[in-house]
């Protein structure tokens, strides 16, 4: 009987013989040109023969680049916050973790002294103003609250509930079905209007209400009229995270 071992021995001999005859493995440029169809027929035949002798390199040609991003739940999915963390570590890696902004805005000792002097003048002016008893207008903050629907497998669905509240800030209540048992929580707000979700904010400062819901405060200026958004709530315990629910809503167009 022809066995696997027979095939392996014959194949090993062929590989050794072919490598000796054909020479070094193809270079990166040759492989890329082969993949791009940029080689002459003779060169293409040579690279093809080499790829059969170097299967680890052939695998690069065999496995195509993914045409799109993995969806949540698929292998290799990264959430916007994962990408955000990666971006932060990338900045450290390339040594770009210094303060942002134009060079003239970056901190210098003399700027510190200047800022202290300006601060002293402003505080003095405020004190003078307060003593003179002049009342300043206070910006009114509209504060309305709306309860969203728990979506996903355990909830009512993933429909986008229209926002009925409006104000500079709105409070959105995100109910949970079971009493949560996590040391902490993390909440993401994603803008899902486009083909790819965009992270609006990501916070671990999550306030749980007495009736087992999370209260999320959203600045109206972070929302786009007509936009679709989704909260994703995670329970955090040590290094483990578990998605607890999603809450979808849309902003009225006008």
């Amino acid at each position: 009987m022809i066995t696997k071992s027979d095939w392996q021995d014959v194949h090993d001999e062929l590989i050794a013989e072919n490598r000796q005859r054909l020479g070094e493995p193809p270079t990166d440029d040759e492989i890329l040109a082969y993949m791009g169809g940029e080689l002459s027929p003779e060169e293409e035949a040579r690279v093809r023969a080499l790829l059969v002798c170097y299967p680890e390199l052939a695998r690069v040609v065999a496995a195509p680049f993914p045409a799109d991003d993995p969806k949540p739940g698929e292998p290799g999915y990264l959430s916007p916050s994962d990408v955000n963390r990666s971006w932060q570590s990338f900045r450290k890696r390339i040594g770009r973790d210094e303060p942002q902004g134009p060079r003239w805005l970056q901190f210098r000792p003399m700027w510190g002294a200047f800022a202290a002097a300006v601060l002293a003048v402003v505080v003095g002016a405020l004190l003078w103003n307060a003593r003179s008893g002049v009342r300043q207008p206070v910006n009114a903050v509209a504060w309305e609250e709306q309860e969203l629907i728990l979506g996903g497998a355990r909830g009512a669905g993933d429909e986008f509930v229209p926002l009925t509240v409006r104000g500079e800030k709105v409070a959105l209540k995100l109910p949970l079905i079971r009493q949560p048992e996590f040391a902490g929580y993390r909440l993401e707000l994603l803008d899902v209007s486009g083909p790819e979700p965009r992270l609006v904010y990501d916070t671990t400062t999550v306030r749980m209400t007495e009736d087992v819901a999370v209260l999320a405060i959203v600045d109206w200026k972070d929302l786009t009229p007509g936009g679709r958004y989704q909260f994703v709530l995670y329970g955090v315990d040590g290094g483990r995270e578990q998605q607890l629910g999603t809450y979808s809503f849309r902003v009225p167009a006008s």
Binding site: M1, I2, T3, K4, D6, W7, Q8, D9, V10, H11, D12, E13, L14, I15, A16, R19, P25, D28, I31, L32, M35, G37, E44, R48, A49, L51, V52, P55, E56, L57, A58, R59, V60, V61, A62, A63, P64, F65, P66, D68, D69, P70, P75, G76, Y77, L78, D82, V83, N84, S86, W87, S89, F90, R93, I94, R96, E196
Partner: protein
């Protein structure tokens, strides 16, 4: 949009896909895949000035492929030998008639089998040999088609003809 802002936009848009390329398509561990994906972006960042913003995905693909090839060459530098993965293809494992002569030793029997197999294999066309060798290595039909740049039907017919010839030539039963 300035250079850094353009780069950040590209990073956020494509990082997940580049990571998936390493992690999912090439079965590299999570940490290493993250590292290789970042390494890809480091290289892109370094040559970002010559980058004109067109076909950004194509630019990233080429860079990621170079990073992957570099990683593979390092990983395989110490073990360059034919790797035969476990396959279970009854069509290529079959009984050969016993050699003539009384009581041949097992080793001699094996040598004879391999010699017969190598001889028959060498009689296949180069195109059939390439297909069969990649199949023995565990590549799927569509992967063989990508590597050899031939159609899926061509892969099927070459493999079918090669196996049929080997069975006839070696006088085995599948």
């Amino acid at each position: 949009m300035n250079r850094d802002a353009r780069f950040e936009t590209m990073y956020r848009k494509y990082f997940a896909r580049v990571y998936r390329f390493f992690y999912f398509e090439h079965h590299i561990t999570d940490d290493e895949a993250q590292d290789l994906a970042q390494e890809t972006f480091v290289r892109v960042y370094e040559s970002f000035d010559s980058y004109r913003g067109e076909a950004e995905w194509g630019f990233l693909k080429v860079t990621a492929t170079r990073v992957l090839l570099n990683w593979i060459r390092k990983a395989h530098a110490a073990k360059r030998s034919g790797e035969v993965v476990e396959i279970d293809d009854p069509e290529i494992f079959f009984d050969l008639p016993a050699p003539e002569g009384p009581d041949a030793a097992d080793r001699q029997l094996a040598d004879l089998r391999r010699a017969a197999l190598a001889e028959a294999f060498a009689e296949l066309s180069p195109a059939q040999q390439e297909c069969l060798r990649l199949s023995i290595l565990g590549f799927k039909y569509n992967e063989i088609a990508s590597i050899l740049k031939i159609s899926l039907d061509a892969v099927r017919s070459r493999l079918r003809d090669a196996k049929r010839y080997l069975r006839t030539r070696l006088g085995g039963k599948s």
